[in-house]
Symmetry: C2
């Protein structure tokens, strides 16, 4: 009971650079293609949608370390370093010999890791003279973070929020509005993309893919406006590596190095954020750390998806990405982990899976909430439904340690708290929650795509 | 921009003792009286309702420092020290020469300072063989904290939640249920106290005073059950002094000492927690720090209340406390700062006001939400409506500094975040919120009580 529970860095130890794993990868991801020409996209072409700095970061395959602008780092200081916590309570509850650590991103003012990239992207937009930005949000964690970042850097923001979350999570909508953002339920009638979908399926509850289409469309049609994305793309994951870089220093303070690193997986930025700084030692020095990406069984692109070029959005406005995907028109079940309802895996992670550096783990919804309950009662923190997938995976591994009598060191990222997701807990506690598997017709679609590729 | 923003203590620097200001007060508070005999209450009599350790702490007037049990300190380590933050963003927004600091208790896993006493009280109950505990909660911050603490130490808990908050804040109720507590809207039909009130006023929306009556009644009628209180009494404030003791060390790290210390004021434990460790230097060494207790204009016991013996609850189950009070049957308006809707000030604070060591400040509801909005947009943290009263007071003082060209150092306690109070922000943002003044008939009641006492 006398051992240290939490580890912090001083402000001078907060990272000054992000880590770009692509520079160290022996097999680079296939190039991102222009959606019309189908040729590798250029920075200039990317700036049709994104700001220039992020476009350059997106296509940077040579610089392993990229400077964090001083203005962004100053904002980081308001909440970073986030604590690395030894989960003694959880270890005791599981009676496991494993040492379990979590990086607690839930203490960010917005309640999740999303602020790490929101601040960076808002800063770059402002610096380049952009006045308006658009984005999508699933459960609302990203939208809330960007609303705050937009306010800090003086930008106007319109957020397309996936309709099922818009209705399930009114508090997150209100948080965005408190920071002065405009929030629209997606699909909406305010874009062609939204109108087309609603005309075809009037009751469609939305998906991240659809919301991205709407946000991109509005950005393309508005003067001096750029689109800003909360995950999936390389530059977003780049910004999130501040998590793993801090965690590596903090694990050293604890005198340990993880055998297993776990993150939940939606678009991949949280997972890449905690993992890539550790994974570089696997790539460069042959370390054997295991990396597990926890995705919902209802949206299993890592384990069931097909590796092919696909769009990042529903309609096909974004560049074509070489990745594991369930298809850009995949309509995920209405699970509460709204941030994980995304069809594709992003280019870096997809290549890393192919190269055997990491693997996906599928977590059913009920297992994720059971894990959340165990964690809350042991550590006092009610986790976001997304983060609960990482916790469930950590619990599986910790139980394995107990069975095998092995004392492994497990690190997971607690990407956010669930205080605004309490209706989901209400359903869980009252027994109204159920599991969703991938429907057979979706499995068939993947199979037929695989056959075509073969 | 290069100066340090946040200050933390190492785990070994986390306080090992709480501070009992009564031992240092030159004029001790008048004694607490037994509700029936009207004679000074004894520890044995107090244990009819409370656990023994807290009863002893309640009546301890000699020991300035009281050891924090190792089991409690170990739980503190899960979230303490909380950060002391230099509010550069707020200073900039106000363009003030003042240096503003806040002690951020909102990063506790439960989202407020309440856990500091909840852990202590639950621990003592468990240690003394208690199996069941009861309590009241206003906005739900205390109930949420105690639910977690009860789970940690293996106690069954029943929470009487003020009805207006029960309806306004369903998420807090769900948090308590996630931790396994039973939550009842107060007034309820499950106690005599509740039945009596509902029979007289069926639409009564509840108050902390009523909820306390119900919780005390249930505790008295249940075997092996103790009542646990979230504020008002001396031992609760004692536990909260961990806030101020940490803050003093952290202010020293920042190279400053506050000219003004501010806390919002409901039952007084948050205010005493941040203030008393600093106030001891006023008492012992003649320092001239100013202490401001921010109460809602709708419930102004510090500025409008009468100093007299009064009950802590609606019905009159608790001991009689010598304090500034609006009367134990006072029915406060339904403001969103549910934790500040309490009629009395507690014995220590009441004596300190009489002795000129501190004073109350009345904040109208709209001013509190305007302050919350300014703070949220500057610092990224959406504050609890209660804490917004402290922020409003800090903003008033910072503006005064600007007008007078003085560079004072202001410290306030951010007692909790408001992520679960977003319906209140919804009303504020849509212009539906209004101010409540003390009704004339309540002022008349106070005046007539004053005349009787004179």
């Amino acid at each position: 009971m006398d051992n240290q529970k939490r580890f912090f860095l001083t402000e001078s130890e907060i990272p000054t650079q992000w880590y770009n794993i692509v520079a160290d990868m022996k097999t680079k991801p296939l190039p991102i293609l222009h959606p019309q020409t189908k040729k590798p996209i250029t920075v200039d072409q990317m700036t049709g949608i994104f700001n220039r700095a992020c476009s350059e970061q997106e296509l940077n395959t040579t610089d392993a370390w990229i400077d964090i602008p001083e203005e962004v780092r100053n904002e980081y200081k308001k909440y970073r370093s986030t604590p690395l916590v030894r989960a003694y309570g959880l270890e005791k509850a599981l009676d496991t010999p494993a040492h379990i650590y979590f990086k607690n991103e839930s203490v960010s003012p917005i309640g999740s890791h999303k602020l790490n990239s929101a601040l960076a992207q808002a800063y770059y937009c402002k610096k380049e003279g952009v006045t308006n930005i658009t984005t999508e949000t699933g459960a609302g964690q990203w939208g809330a973070a960007l609303s705050y970042a937009a306010k800090i850097f003086g930008l106007e923001l319109a957020v397309f929020m996936v309709k099922v979350s818009y209705n399930q999570k009114p508090y997150r909508r209100l948080i965005m509005q408190t920071f002065g953002a405009q929030v629209i339920a997606s699909p909406s009638m305010s874009t062609r993309a939204g109108k087309d979908i609603l005309t075809k399926t009037p009751t469609y509850q939305g998906s991240l893919g659809t919301a991205i289409s709407e946000a991109v469309e509005l950005a393309m049609q508005t003067p001096n406006c750029k689109y800003v994305l909360g995950s999936v793309l390389n530059h977003v994951t780049l910004h999130q590596t501040v998590i793993g870089i801090e965690a590596e220093k903090q694990m050293a303070m604890a005198g340990e190095y993880p055998d297993i690193v776990i993150g939940c997986f939606g678009g991949g930025s949280n997972f890449g954020g905690i993992s890539f700084p550790f994974m570089r030692h696997n790539i460069l020095e042959g370390k054997q750390t295991q990396f597990l990406a926890a995705e919902p069984a209802a949206c299993p692109k890592l384990t069931r998806g097909v590796f092919e070029y696909d769009f990042g959005d529903e309609v096909g406005y974004t560049p074509l990405l070489p990745m594991f995907t369930l298809g850009h028109d995949f309509a995920p079940a209405n699970i509460h982990a709204g941030g994980l309802r995304y069809h594709g895996a992003g280019t870096i992670v997809s290549q890393l899976i192919k190269d055997g550096y990491m693997k996906g783990v599928d977590i059913p919804q009920l297992e994720s909430f059971k894990a959340a309950e165990i964690f809350a009662q042991a550590e006092g923190i009610i986790p976001a439904p997304e983060s609960a997938h990482a916790i469930a995976t950590a619990i599986r591994e910790a139980k394995k340690c107990k069975e095998e009598g092995k004392q492994k060191t497990i690190l997971f990222c607690l990407s956010g708290h669930g205080l605004i997701d309490m209706t989901a807990y209400d359903q869980y506690l009252s027994g109204d929650l159920r599991n969703y598997e991938l429907p057979q017709e979706e499995i068939d679609k993947c199979t037929s795509r695989l056959e075509k590729l073969a």
